[in-house]
């Protein structure tokens, strides 16, 4: 049912319990926050190691204020194996609308909504620690910004930024216990839906999904479809599940013009139904053509792809009886003429047979030129260009904003689209938090048989190497990877090295270990075939192994390729929990792109899918219906924002910290002021770990390159610092999808593709005439 997933909110993003668990774990690990608290309360032996189980279930075993809502229950096991105790906090989630005017920030609100803290060692409650933990969460952590929702309160276009974000924890009390966090978005012209009715709609195996209310999609599509058809927006009606033309409008393409009498998009279960009707009249005919189709969606290589599958069209033609008889009579007289016109019989009736009456010109066949020549390309354009460009733009914009925006403090998420389904339009994704922790060494190592590996320094060497963590020893199929010098290994069972976050490594059981070759790769059955490339003799399992190195650092390794004489190994070693600071920031391009309709093709590229990829099939073969025609692209050049945001993230540096910023040789001693950067005036604002620089030139600023440095001090006088070379370029370029008006799209469609009329021989044999008809020869004989 339309709107059932979104409960009439314009769009809803949902995240599973596990994905929010990952974000919060990354937050506490990235800043070394929990580690600093544990050190302060005498639990330094944990070395910062913890694991977190977060629940959206409303706890029944702790006292809660009656109005407390949107609760999360955080349960930390302290130490690598959880043996040092259990910390617990119950807090409320909040949509913070005050920190920034440009963002509504979904956050865990410890300042105002921390309802419970606890600490137990084994099953024994420890009295003082809960209060210390509560103070730590309220005063030092304050809030965990989970998802920043970019907003533009005064937006008037429903495709612009949302006007408001809301939050809701879906606490499913049924046996299925399908809990989720929902972020509800309202766009211009929309209104808030029924938050209490929201349910979990994420597919099993995925960590999040975006659902779009069809009515909102229709609000966005209406002006774009109307513009593309070069008609008024008021000629279309919208509803919860449809967008449809409410009057007849002219439509043209390929040198033909006809009347578009019906155009309708309607939400169905799993697809969008598309219906089009077209009409054309000639001297001796009135014809109408109807086509229906389905717009389906899928994710291919992380990109959203919308495809139209067109049904067989129906054509109704009215012909005055005498026109046909005249055609038959003249065809008999001038058989050659009729022969020429075979490909356009309807046109022959309308234009040629009765001939000179309409100027003798052969109008194109109605079916070929009008229905196939205009209506089909228009329907394909709606599906593959308008809807795809719009939905891709919306989903892409949301994903970009969640990736990282330094204007507000947030973890940052990479959304990797996995699957899309239509009912409402929902896109499943894999949400991966972006961790900001210091990496000691990472890369690819090539290790010959018998060599040793030092993961702390990324070195490969011989037995003489002092501090090896692993050894690749043995020969042939008896080779094995073995820990050395006190390094310990754990099997993660995972295969996605990029998806590993440091805190995920803490709970594994580490031990001296040997990994045999057959666990790393399977030798293929005929390895000695001379034509087989060396790299194809083994099928690698790509399993990821976690290590604690001989020097005490966490590391991950993955054998990516196995050869007869060596292996290739991807690795990443995290730095020890040492005090450090990382600096990130830039003058960014505004990433929110509204798909626009263009009336000319200047600077627009049609990137046609190569013919080979279209998998063209003859009529009788099963057609794949998966190929697509191509994409319309444009390179947009915009001015780079004159305001740059920079953030410093400290690691394992606790207590009361002070931040000192230094920009282009100038110490920023006040909270705000002005400075000179490369001969250009700029202003600055400093809010502890956040620096905002704004270039002040009235004219367009020139390109600049300068150094930003931050030094962080604690009360004891310890200091860490980081610097970053920042480049400002006045313009930035990005690739965006565009929607050309439909007659341009139809013309381009015919330039690139043309519709092929298949010969009659490929059709089913025609039915026998009802009565035996003498052949032309025999009828002559009878005369």
């Amino acid at each position: 049912m339309p709107g059932s997933q979104t409960q009439r909110f314009d769009a809803v993003m949902e995240f599973t319990e596990q994905s929010v668990n990952d974000v919060i774990s990354t937050f506490f690990d990235s800043g070394g926050l929990l580690s600093s608290f544990l050190n302060a309360v005498g639990l330094g032996s944990a070395e910062g190691a913890f694991s977190l189980d977060m629940l959206f279930d409303r706890p029944s075993d702790v006292p809660l204020p009656s109005g407390a809502s949107n609760l999360i229950d955080l349960r930390f096991d302290i130490g690598a194996d959880g043996s040092l105790g259990q910390l617990r906090a119950v807090a409320g989630l909040n949509m913070n609308r005050t920190t920034s005017s440009d963002f509504d920030i979904a956050e865990v609100d410890f300042r105002n909504q921390l309802h419970f803290t606890g600490f137990t060692a084994g099953s024994i409650p420890i009295p003082l620690l809960p209060n210390l933990f509560a103070n730590f969460l309220r005063n030092q952590v304050g809030a965990i910004p989970l998802f920043p929702v970019p907003v533009k309160r005064a937006a008037t276009d429903p495709a612009d930024l949302p006007t408001r974000g809301d939050i809701r924890i879906i606490d499913d009390i049924s046996a299925a216990d399908r809990d989720a966090l929902a972020i509800m978005l309202t766009f211009a012209g929309g209104s808030a839906g029924n938050a209490a009715g929201l349910q979990h709609f994420i597919n099993p195996g995925e960590t999040g999904a975006i659902a779009l209310f069809f009515r909102w999609l229709a609000r966005i599509l209406r002006p774009r479809v109307a513009s593309a058809l070069q008609t008024s927006e008021s000629n279309f009606d919208i509803g919860d599940d449809f967008l449809r033309l409410n009057r007849t409008i002219p439509v043209s393409g390929g040198g033909e013009t006809a009347d578009l009498t019906r155009l309708e998009l309607r939400l169905r279960d799993g697809f969008i139904e598309l219906k089009g009707e077209i009409a054309k009249s000639g001297f001796c005919y009135d014809a109408t053509g109807k086509i229906a189709g389905r717009i389906c969606a899928k994710v291919v290589g992380g990109e959203l792809v919308f495809k139209a599958e067109i049904d067989n069209p129906d054509v109704d033609i009215d012909i005055p009886w005498y026109c046909w008889l005249g055609a038959a009579a003249i065809g008999a007289i001038a058989g050659g003429l009729v022969g020429v016109l075979v490909g356009a019989v309807v046109g022959a009736v309308g234009g040629a047979v009765v001939g000179g009456v309409v100027g003798g010109a052969v109008v194109g066949g109605i079916v070929g030129a009008i229905l196939i020549g205009i209506l089909v390309p228009v329907l394909l354009a709606i599906a593959e260009n308008v809807i795809e460009t719009t939905v891709e733009g919306i989903a892409g914009n949301l994903a970009d904003k969640l990736r990282q925006d330094l204007q507000v403090p947030a973890i940052g998420l990479n959304l990797i689209f996995q699957r899309v389904f239509i009912d409402d339009v929902a896109i499943n994704f894999d949400a991966r938090p972006i961790e900001k922790v210091p990496i000691r060494a990472s890369g690819v190592l090539e290790v010959r048989n018998g060599q040793l590996i030092d993961l702390d320094n990324g070195q490969v060497g011989s037995e003489s190497m002092g501090s090896a963590d692993l050894e690749w020893r043995g020969s042939g199929f008896g080779r094995q990877l073995r820990t050395r010098c006190g390094a310990r290994l754990a099997r993660t069972g995972l295969q996605d090295l990029a998806g590993i976050l440091r805190w995920k490594l803490y709970p594994f059981p580490y031990a001296d270990a040997t990994v045999p070759l057959h666990e790393l790769a399977i030798p293929l059955p005929f390895p000695d075939l001379p034509f087989l490339p060396e790299s194809q003799k083994y099928l690698e399992t790509r399993l990821v192994y976690a290590l604690k190195t001989a020097e005490g650092r966490y590391s991950v390794v993955q054998v990516s390729e196995v050869f007869d004489d060596r292996i290739r190994l991807n690795y990443k070693t995290y730095e020890k929990p040492l005090p450090s600071v990382q600096l990130a920031g830039e003058f960014a391009c505004d990433g929110w792109q509204i798909p626009e309709v263009v009336a000319d093709l200047e600077n627009i590229r049609f990137e046609a899918t190569p013919r080979a990829n279209l998998r063209f099939q003859p009529a009788r073969a099963a057609h794949p219906a998966l190929a697509r025609l191509g994409r319309w692209r444009r390179t947009v050049t915009r001015q780079t924002s004159r305001t740059g945001h920079f953030r410093a993230t400290v690691e394992n540096f606790s207590g009361t910290l002070s931040y000192h910023w230094h920009v282009a040789g100038t110490d920023l001693l006040k909270k705000q002021g002005s400075l000179d950067i490369g001969g250009q005036k700029a202003t600055f604002q400093v809010d502890r770990d956040h620096l905002i620089l704004t270039l002040q030139n009235q004219k367009l600023p020139k390109a600049l390159e300068f150094l930003v440095k931050v030094t962080v001090n604690d009360k004891a006088g310890n200091a860490v610092s980081a610097s970053k070379c920042v480049r400002f370029t006045p313009f930035c370029k990005s690739e965006v999808g565009v929607i050309p008006v439909f007659d341009l799209q139809v013309n381009t469609f015919h330039q690139h593709f043309s519709v092929v009329r298949l010969p009659l021989a490929t059709l089913q044999p025609a039915a026998e005439p009802p009565e035996k008809q003498p052949s032309r020869v025999s009828s002559r004989r009878r005369k």
């Binding site: 049904d311 069209p313 005498y322 009456v357 003859p618 057609h623």
Partner: protein
């Protein structure tokens, strides 16, 4: 002698349709048109309309319509295969799909006299 524009404008759709036929055939078409009511009744049956597409003479004769001599001769030479093009057409679309247009033809009286705007 060429007709004037005003003469042309008062011509009926029927007259303009047959203007390219020889005078004899035009006469015979007018003769046949006197049986228009019977012809249309016959063609109101979809099966018979389909037969009219490929075998117009046979259909008219089977319905008891008297077809004048010259017109009959011409229609005897009509190639019934040409009508196949009005029963279905198959197109290969560039996305690999093949679609077949199902075509239904309905025979009508033609525009009313005096209301022909074509």
């Amino acid at each position: 002698m060429a007709k004037t524009r005003s003469q042309k404008s008062v011509q009926s759709h029927f007259d303009r349709s047959i203007a390219q036929l020889s005078p004899s055939l035009q006469r015979e078409m007018r003769e046949l048109r006197k049986q228009e009511a019977r012809i249309l009744k016959l063609l109101s049956d979809p099966k018979k309309a389909e037969q009219y597409l490929s075998h117009p003479l046979q259909l008219l004769q089977s319905g008891g319509i008297e077809v004048p001599t010259l017109l009959k001769r011409r229609l005897q030479q009509f190639d019934p295969n040409l009508a196949q093009h009005l029963s279905r057409q198959t197109y290969a679309l560039p996305n690999g799909q093949a679609i077949t247009a199902h075509i239904r033809v309905r025979f009508t009286r033609g525009p009313r006299e005096g209301s022909d705007a074509r």
